[in-house]
Symmetry: C2
Subunit: 173 residues, 2 copies
């Protein structure tokens, strides 16, 4: 998926790896922190697939930069991805859900403790995201993404409440 995001960023303007890393993290409001190596790895895969092409820009003092731009194929692939809605059943691969349920089955008391800890985590996360959201100069796209996250956090917090209620009413098993 990172792959498509990088393509989208390159579609806005050609950039080199290091620059992309920063643009990516800014767009995501810090909710997806990248190891720079990931960017270089992904870029070289994209280049192998013919979706992007580099132009080497020589620099006197710093290392040369490889500025990538989309090929025709890359632009086509990006458009295809962006136009197609995410299909099929929504999938449940969220660690929190599975963990709480697994613990709920195995050990209801421990599950209640886990829920309490998890709720704290989520409240902290909510506060932090709200802070980022309120920062001046935030790109509107980033604001939207953070709103999405906040809505989900709210939903998940409500779910934790549900779990607690059901665990106290005779358990999950």
């Amino acid at each position: 998926m990172l792959k498509y995001l990088l393509l989208a960023l390159l579609a806005r303007s050609p950039q080199h790896g290091y620059e992309l890393k920063n643009a990516f993290e800014e767009l995501l409001g810090g909710t997806w922190v990248l190891n720079v190596a990931q960017v270089y790895n992904t870029l070289s895969r994209l280049e192998d697939d013919g979706l992007i092409e580099p132009t080497v820009v020589h620099q006197e003092l710093l290392p040369d930069r490889k500025v990538y731009s989309l090929t025709l194929l890359g632009r086509k692939e990006l458009t295809r991805w962006m136009e197609e809605p995410v299909a099929g059943l929504v999938r449940l691969r969220e660690e929190v859900f599975l963990k709480v349920v697994a613990q709920g089955i195995a050990n209801p008391d421990a599950a209640l403790a886990l829920i309490a800890l998890q709720r704290d985590q989520y409240l902290d996360a909510t506060a932090e995201i709200a802070r980022t959201r309120a920062a001046p100069g935030l790109p509107p796209a980033t604001g939207l993404l953070l709103d999405g996250l906040l809505l989900r956090l709210e939903a998940d917090l409500r779910w934790l409440d549900d779990c607690e209620v059901q665990l106290r009413n005779g358990g999950i098993r």
Copy 2:
């Protein structure tokens, strides 16, 4: 993560691969469909790591079955995982979010079309999950998981509405 779910299932009762696949999908209410090969792959890794151990059960007509159970180490590892809350920032790796935002930046009109399609998808998904949710004999744990999914779907639908509003009010860029 599959790994821990399999451990959790094996903690309830020792099972062989094929059986696990079904138990897994039943627990998740069909929201995570497995290729059987995934189970066998994961099981052999777990065995390599000493977290589970097999007992071969001979069968006359059908192929022999390898019934796995947790080792002490496996039980410890499972407990460790279940007790520890999911830490750190909530991360935004959801394809829908990124796709809508990418398209919103690149092509607002296409983004509105995408949102409409995505909303239909989500409504269909909601209906289907609600149907599964209402099925008789559904394990309570599965019910909880589906509730979590439904809450998230609601949240995401509300987010799509937000996106649409913002796209109509001058866009995301």
